[in-house]
């Protein structure tokens, strides 16, 4: 067992996959000489050279499309988009091409490309640099969208994504890069994860807390707080936003009878809305309280620290929603609610 950061887990996994398969290569802005805006690719240009670690011009549509075209010929490009905010420039290539090429040509060619990209607010980067638009991609059949929350998951999921024959959006969060966790094995020996599977990361009986990426970590933290108060919370880490593991969600909520969904993006039409609808379709008769959702305030994210902090979903906002839900079911006495 080794303790590593999320960043290190990604870097070691990229390296291991490049050694394993000659067809795996990296491309993106500033990933080579500069070693990555967030240093995920540190040392890789030196080790693998410019053929396998390719710095691109600032042309998101052009180079993402080129990666897709290369994947059509059997290469396994791993693209880094500096942040998910800039993925909007490549939206046509991702949504109209990567996602559709397998289907619209009757399954004759697949697109095994991985697009890694961080998102998330909290760094005072202002409205255009702080959004999470994973919803846009989760909406599209043909894409796979994953958002692992721990270093071990990130590693196992990245392996799976690189070996998968479909285009995978691999979502990272700036707030996770320095978080630590244990790898059960050396990165070379770690089993690839199963894309499309959620994980029950903590079993419980009183309430289900559902999150992904940063909010899965926050949910685990909140479950810990609730445990100290005698509440048994089950935590579901979605890990995969498309395909979505509806069975695990429904099974959990049928067990606990109530749920709160936490997402790090805007509320309206969002991923939380989809989860709430899934619960309604699959566990309505088991529900003891309405499903609640915790999300970002519906504003362009402001720069000022006070405003930005207030806008982002936090452990406090999730805890409040969980307590309200528990009160509604009678599982938490009124006076213990804050």
């Amino acid at each position: 067992m080794a303790t590593v950061t999320y960043r290190q887990a990604l870097r070691d996994t990229l390296r291991a996959e490049m050694i394993r398969d000659e067809n795996v290569f990296l491309m993106g802005e500033e990933i080579g000489l500069f070693e990555g805006s967030y240093k995920i690719t540190e040392g890789l240009l030196k080790e693998f050279g410019p053929r396998r670690v390719r710095d691109t011009p600032i042309a998101e549509e052009g180079f993402v499309g080129a990666a897709i075209g290369a994947a059509m010929l059997g290469l396994r490009p791993v693209v880094e988009l500096m942040t998910i905010n800039f993925s909007l420039l490549a939206l046509d290539q991702i949504v109209n091409h990567a996602a559709k090429i397998y289907g619209m040509f009757g399954g004759q060619t697949s697109v095994p490309v991985v697009i890694r990209t961080p998102g998330g607010g909290g760094q005072q980067l202002g409205a255009t640099h702080s959004q999470n638009v994973e919803l846009f991609y989760s909406f599209i059949p043909g894409l796979k969208v994953v958002a692992p929350s721990t270093p071990a998951e990130a590693s196992a999921m990245l392996k799976a994504a690189i070996r998968d024959d479909d285009p995978v959006l691999f979502l990272e969060n700036l707030a996770l890069y320095n978080t630590k966790g244990e790898l059960p094995a050396g990165v070379e020996d770690l089993e690839p994860a199963q894309i499309g599977r959620a994980a029950v990361t903590r079993p419980g009986t009183d309430i289900t807390l559902i999150g992904y990426s940063r909010m899965a970590r926050v949910a685990a933290e909140v479950a810990e707080t609730l445990a100290a108060e005698g509440v048994s919370a089950e935590v579901v880490d979605l890990r995969s936003l498309r395909p979505l593991d509806r069975a695990t969600i429904v099974e959990s909520v049928r067990g606990t009878g109530c749920a709160v969904v936490a997402e790090d993006d805007w509320l309206t039409y969002g991923i939380g809305a989809e989860i709430a609808a899934t619960i309604q379709e699959g566990a309505f008769d088991w529900l003891d309280a309405p499903v609640r959702r915790v999300a970002m305030a519906e504003v362009p994210l402001p720069y000022a620290k006070s405003l930005e902090s207030a806008a982002l979903p936090s452990a406090e906002s999730l805890l409040t929603a969980a307590r309200d839900t528990l009160r509604a079911t009678g599982r938490l006495a009124l006076e213990t609610a804050s």
């Binding site: 691109t56 549509e61 052009g62 180079f63 499309g65 290369a70 290539q93 040509f105 095994p112 199963q194």
Partner: protein, 385 residues
């Protein structure tokens, strides 16, 4: 010789090929900046001077096959056998055949949505192309693509694409992959003149120039993007000149002259293959009809329409072959009957082919299926309790 950015050698004496092409031009129609077919182009040969009789007859046959195929497609469309959009190659046959003649079978091709002729000239049978138009499981894309999205791995047609310019980054990436694997195949990317305005075009040509990729970008300049003239959509309507901005050699050729197109394409492909340098080729290829089957092209004046008749590349090569005693009138008729029968057979094949089975609806979402993934029609329940 202003019409090429290549250095010496490629620029044949100007205007030697203006015989029929010049008369056919739309120049007198008020679109002053639209280059006339055959005018100011480095073609260097009247139709056929650089090819033997057998080759020429072969080109003629392919052009005729594409013509008859497209006419048949237009008819089948009005009979509601074909749905959706249907963009034809009418008037662009010399370009299609000339370009494909320059490729090796192992070279790759990406096109836009106007690709029926390319599919046939790249070696896919008219049967499978027509069946795709009919939306049948025997179609080249198994009925999933239709007119705009034909694909065949064996023929190395890597797709027709419906988003203007969407294919250009993909082709660039395919060229990158060829080089990465150490092969010497070339990737040709076809597009229209309207496409030269879109961001993906510029980003891709920049990347291809920067990374020395074996890609040949071909702009089919038919003067129009739907109803918008090239002068109204491009600040520099002489599109091949854009190559200079990406340190890329480029040339413009008369797209109604099959041999001229082939020769220009051979140069471009050689450049890409031998030097791994991209190339930008512009062909001047008026389309005879509207943007798609349903477009009556009201934006064209009567004079323009008359002029277009004279620009017909098929009539041009037929006349040339007759004048030079290569193909008699009777032989031409016989060829026409043969080709028409082939197209009739394709339509019959398409008509007799089965529609894709509805049970296959979920088969092509993912190449690596996800266990337990939801596969349902809107009416199906999500969970049974």
């Amino acid at each position: 010789m202003a019409e090429t950015t290549r250095s010496a050698g490629t620029a044949a004496p100007a205007r030697t090929s203006r015989t029929r092409g010049a008369k056919a031009s739309g120049r007198e129609t008020g679109r002053a900046a639209t280059p006339a077919p055959g005018a100011d182009v480095p073609a260097g040969s009247a139709s056929g001077s650089g090819a033997d009789a057998e080759t020429l007859i072969g080109y003629y046959r392919q052009m005729l096959l594409i013509r008859r195929f497209e006419e048949r497609a237009a008819r089948a469309y009005t009979e509601a056998k074909i749905g959706g959009y249907c963009h034809l190659n009418l008037g662009e046959e010399a370009t299609v055949v000339g370009l494909m003649a320059a490729l090796r079978p192992t070279d790759y091709l990406f096109t836009n949505y106007r690709e029926h002729g390319y599919a046939i000239a790249k070696g896919i049978t008219p049967d499978r192309v027509m069946a795709e138009l009919y939306g049948r499981s025997t179609g080249v894309s198994k009925g999933w693509g239709g007119s705009m999205h034909m694909f065949d791995k064996e023929a190395r047609l890597l797709g027709g694409y419906g988003i203007v310019g969407g294919q250009v980054p993909l082709a660039t990436g395919a060229a990158l992959a060829v080089g990465y694997k150490g092969g010497d195949d070339v990737v040709m990317c076809q597009m229209g003149d309207g496409t030269a305005a879109i961001g993906a075009f510029h980003e891709s040509l920049n990347i291809a120039g920067l990374w020395d990729l074996p890609a040949v970008f071909v702009v089919i300049n038919n003067g129009l993007g739907m109803g918008t003239t090239v002068e109204n959509s491009s600040a520099e309507p002489e599109l091949y000149k854009r190559g200079a901005a990406y340190r890329m050699e480029s040339a413009r050729v008369d797209g109604t002259d099959v041999v001229a197109v082939r020769d220009a394409a051979v140069l471009a492909v050689e450049k890409a293959r031998a030097d791994s340098r991209p190339y930008l080729l512009e062909t001047i290829s008026p389309r005879l009809k509207g943007h798609s089957v349903v477009d009556p092209a009201r934006y064209r004046s009567k004079e323009e329409r008359d002029a277009l008749k004279a620009a017909d590349p098929l009539a041009r090569i037929a006349l040339d072959l007759a004048e030079r005693g290569i193909l008699s009138h009777d032989a031409r008729d016989a060829l026409d009957a043969e080709v028409t029968a082939e197209v009739d057979a394709a339509a019959a094949f398409a008509d007799g082919s089965p529609a894709p089975d509805v049970s296959t609806l979920f088969d092509y979402t993912y190449a690596t299926p996800v266990p337990g993934e939801l596969r349902r029609l809107p009416a199906d329940p999500v969970f049974s309790s």
